[in-house]
Every structure is written in C-alpha cells, then in structure tokens.
C-alpha cells in the first residue's frame, strides 16, 4: 500500500505540490492526469523516493521509499532516454535487476520481451528499435525487476497515437495478469480514463488532487472500449473537472492581481 500524508514539495520559491493526502491499495491501477506544470511528475517522483518531500510523509508498505528502492520494489518507466544505448534489449532488461542486487534470469527476461511483442529483437540495440519498441523494452525491464509497484511517468508521451493506444491495451493486459500496483502519470485524458481503476485529477500551482474518480469500464479493455458510451462519458467528466479547476484557478489569480493593483494604488 502507498500512503502519502500531508506531502508538500518545495523547490526554492516554487511549491510543486501542497498538502497531498493519498492512499493507493495494492494492485490498484491509478492514473494521474493534469496539465503541464501541475506537479504530477513531482508527485510520482516523491512516491518513488527520487524526490524528498519538504514536509509530510511517504510510506510504501509502511516503510519509507528508500527501503522499497533497496528491495528492488519500485519499477520506474520514464518518458524517454530510458535504455542504455550500448546494451541490447535483453541486456537492458537484465542489467537493472543485476544493479538492484538481484540475480537476473535470462529465460524470464526473454519471455517478458516476447510478451511485450519483441520476439526476435532481444539482441537488437536500442538504436535499431522504434520509439514504441524502446518503451516496450523499458516496461519489460520494470517487470523483470520483480517490483510490486510500477511508477510510470508519461511512458507513452513521445509515441504516436496508434502506438499509444496499442501499448495502453497491452499494459492494461499485463496489469490484469500480474496485479501490480501501478501509478501512471499522463496528460492525455482518454489515456488516463482507459487505463485506470482510479483516476486522480491534479490541478493548480501548487498542485493538489482536485478529484478522485473510480473508473468503471468493461474488462478486458481493448480497442472497442474507446468507442463505448461509458468511456466517452467518463472522459467528458474528467475533462470538465480539469477545465473547471483551471478556470477557477485563473479567476482566483486574476482577483489576487487586481487586489494587489488596488492596494498599490491606495499606498500611493
């Protein structure tokens, strides 16, 4: 279980996220959606222990993230630059596990690459793989690590739409089989709804959790889901929430600026 209590992260004079309380149960697929600069990546990095909260507390199964890191219990997938160019796909998959101090299992790594649709590419180097294939390798690598928690930071952000949808179907499929806890950050609303059991809408500066939606869609989730009414409606709801929060924030900022102007006039 992931548990955040009153987490605030500040960089110099910018507050990225403020007073975030969040509980994620084992085996949940949670997506975090929001505009750029709302602190969603910071939230993910804080959960994974790459960012230390300024105040507040993060616990993964009751222990600080550093303990989860040491136990090879956090599988990160980043947006880009995630593979070592000088290693083959297979070596990339096994290497991280070795670095984590665990014995890699080549048979398992090959099997994972195959499930990710990379038959015949185990010995290819990243330069020969397309963007989508590289992200498949990165996902296989996180799975081979054996981590219970997968933390994904816009992993499909640089891919074309078709590859995105395809990988979305696959990652949901992997999750159904393995039941990992997944926290998936994206700025695409349809992606966030399609993948999630639970969708967190993050807004504002500093970022806060604006809404927490249970997503109800049929299983298995495949390309048919995209056309369904239930999907469209939930996408519309999340989108509305994002826009409303955005408008409210803007009005508040405008009001604050106007008050400031007025005060300045009075001082004069």
């Amino acid at each position: 279980m992931i548990d955040l209590a009153d987490v605030t992260v500040r960089f110099d004079d910018v507050t990225a996220i403020e007073d975030v309380d969040l509980r994620i149960d084992d085996g949940e697929f949670v997506t975090v959606v929001g505009p750029s600069g709302c602190g969603k990546t910071t939230l993910l990095r804080t959960i994974g222990g790459l960012q230390t909260p300024t105040t507040g507390r993060v616990r993964i199964d009751g222990k600080p993230p550093a303990a989860a890191q040491a136990g090879a219990d956090l599988g990160f997938v980043f947006q880009r630059h995630t593979l070592f160019q000088w290693k083959t796909a297979l070596e990339n998959v096994t290497f991280l596990r070795r670095l984590a101090g665990e014995e890699p299992d080549e048979t398992d790594a090959r099997a994972l690459l195959e499930t990710m649709g990379l038959e015949g590419f185990a010995d290819a180097r990243p330069a020969r793989l397309s963007g989508g294939m590289r992200q498949r390798v990165a996902i296989a690598r996180a799975l081979h690590l054996g981590a219970d928690v997968l933390l994904m930071d816009e992993p499909f952000g640089e891919l074309d739409e078709i590859t995105r949808d395809e990988l979305g179907v696959e990652i949901r499929d992997v999750w159904r089989r393995e039941r990992k806890t997944v926290v998936f950050v994206t700025h695409s609303v349809p992606e966030a709804v399609f993948l999630a059991d639970r969708c967190l809408v993050v807004c504002g500066q500093p970022g806060r959790i604006e809404a927490d939606y249970e997503i109800d869609l049929p299983e298995p989730r495949d390309a048919n889901v995209f056309g369904s009414r239930a999907f469209q409606e939930q996408v519309a709801t999340v989108r509305r929430t994002l826009h409303e929060a955005h408008d409210r924030d803007r009005e508040r900022d405008l009001g604050r600026d106007q008050r400031r102007e007025r005060d300045r006039g009075r001082d004069r």
Partner: protein, 258 residues
C-alpha cells in the same frame, strides 16, 4: 559501384596528387631555381639524409616518444582524476573550476623556463612539462562529459538504490566517452609539442634537440628530416587514439560514428 569509385578518387587520388604537386613545386624551387642546399635542400636530399643515417632519427624519435609517453600518462591520469573530482564534488568544483578555465588561457609553453629553475635540466623536467600541457584539455572536456548523461538514467539507477560508483561506471562514463576522446586527441597532439619545446629548453636529446642542432649548424636537411619523423610520430599517436576510440565504440556496440 559508382559510389565506390567516387570514394576511391576522393579519398586516395586527390590527396596523393596534391602531395605530389607540392613535392614537385618544392623540387622545382630547390633544383630548377638553383637555391643553395643550406637554404632549401631538394626533397631527394632530405630522403637521403633519412635513409643514410636511420639510427640517428630512430633513436632521437624514441627519446622524444619516451617523454611523450611518460609525461602523457601522468598528465592524462592526473587530468582524469581531477575531472572526476570536479564533476562529483560540488565544493571542489566551486573552488577549483574557475582557475582551471582561467589557466587555460595561459600559454603553457611560457612555463617551461621556470621548470628549468625548479627541476633542472634532466628528463624529469620534460616529463613534468609534457604532463602539464596534456593535463588541461583532458580535465576540462572530461569534466563536461561526465555531466552529459540524461537525468532519466541517473533516476533509474537511484530507483534501485545503486551507488555512486555504479552510476559513474555504468552511466556517466559511457556518456562521457566522446568528450574524453576529444580531450585525448588534443592531449596527444600537445604532448608532442610539449616534448619538442622541452627538448629545446633542456637541450639533451630527441627530435626537438636534433632540430635545434640543425638550426645552429645551418643544416636544413637534418631539420626537415627530423620534422618528417616528428610528423609521423604525431600522426601515429593521434591514430592510436582514433583506433582505441573505434575499438571502445565497437566493444560497446555503438555505431562507428564520431
């Protein structure tokens, strides 16, 4: 097929032709123009000098190479070590880096006479001088290269609790390789310059010394022969670095570019 012929013409024919034309001009000025040999010896005379007494040039080339190898090794090792310190110790970087950049402007050749006072006229002066001159390009480019790795790789290593040594070896160093080799190429070139200047100053032996003697005795044929050997020496050293770089790239499975 056409590509191959064009490549052959471009890579081999034109440079060879240019060299032949240059030699011909030289020969024309020296022989046809009847310039005395103590001013400009003919190409043939220089070749004859080389072939006539090869041991002289081989021995002196070895003495120069010795200074390059010892001094270069010390300079490169020290430069690399300092670059690592600059890259990983913020306080050290703040303290030292501005001076490293500033001292780069200083012509290191001007320091040679000072070394003469401190270290005397032995080979060690030459070794220290070569070390000094090879040190700077390597330290600056390596320090910059060690910061080139994308932050996602560092994050990835941190996420599995990998230590700083693993980060240096598996992430930062591979990304720094192009800069390290760029620095090394500058360093070996300067090492030869350093060795020659050192030989002028301490005047013991080596190709630099041979050139100095040739000048004092008005023997341009000896000087030109020594220069030719020096050129070959410099090119071999540079070529060695290029080959090592290629080998490392192949070993790492990177395409042979850059």
């Amino acid at each position: 097929m056409t590509t191959r012929i064009r490549t052959l013409a471009g890579d081999v024919f034109f440079p060879t032709a240019a060299l032949a034309v240059a030699a011909l001009c030289w020969w024309a000025v020296a022989v046809v123009g009847d310039v005395p040999a103590f001013v400009l010896p003919a190409p043939g005379a220089v070749v004859a000098r080389l072939v006539g007494n090869p041991t002289l040039y081989v021995h002196n080339a070895w003495y120069t190479l010795e200074k390059v190898l010892y001094g270069g090794s010390v300079g490169i090792a020290a430069g690399f070590l300092l670059a690592v310190l600059v890259a990983y110790l913020p306080w050290f970087r703040t303290a030292v880096y501005p001076y490293l950049v500033a001292v780069r402007v200083l012509p290191k050749l001007a320091v040679a006479p000072l070394l003469l006072i401190y270290l005397g006229t032995g080979t060690e002066t030459a070794v220290v001088f070569v070390a000094l001159i090879t040190f700077f390009p390597l330290v600056l480019s390596t320090a910059a290269g060690l910061e080139r790795a994308p932050s996602a790789h560092r994050d990835l290593l941190r996420s599995v609790d990998a230590g700083p040594l693993e980060r240096i070896v598996y992430v930062d160093l591979p990304y720094a390789l192009p800069d390290v080799f760029a620095g090394l190429k500058q360093s070996v070139t300067l090492a030869v310059v350093g060795a020659v200047v050192a030989e002028w100053v301490i005047a013991d032996r080596g190709l630099g010394f041979l050139i100095l003697m040739g000048s004092e005795n008005v023997r341009p044929d000896v000087m030109l022969a020594a220069l030719a050997v020096l050129l070959a020496l410099g090119l071999s050293l540079y070529g060695t670095v290029v080959l090592v770089q290629r080998g490392v790239r192949r070993w790492l499975g990177l395409e042979a570019t850059g």
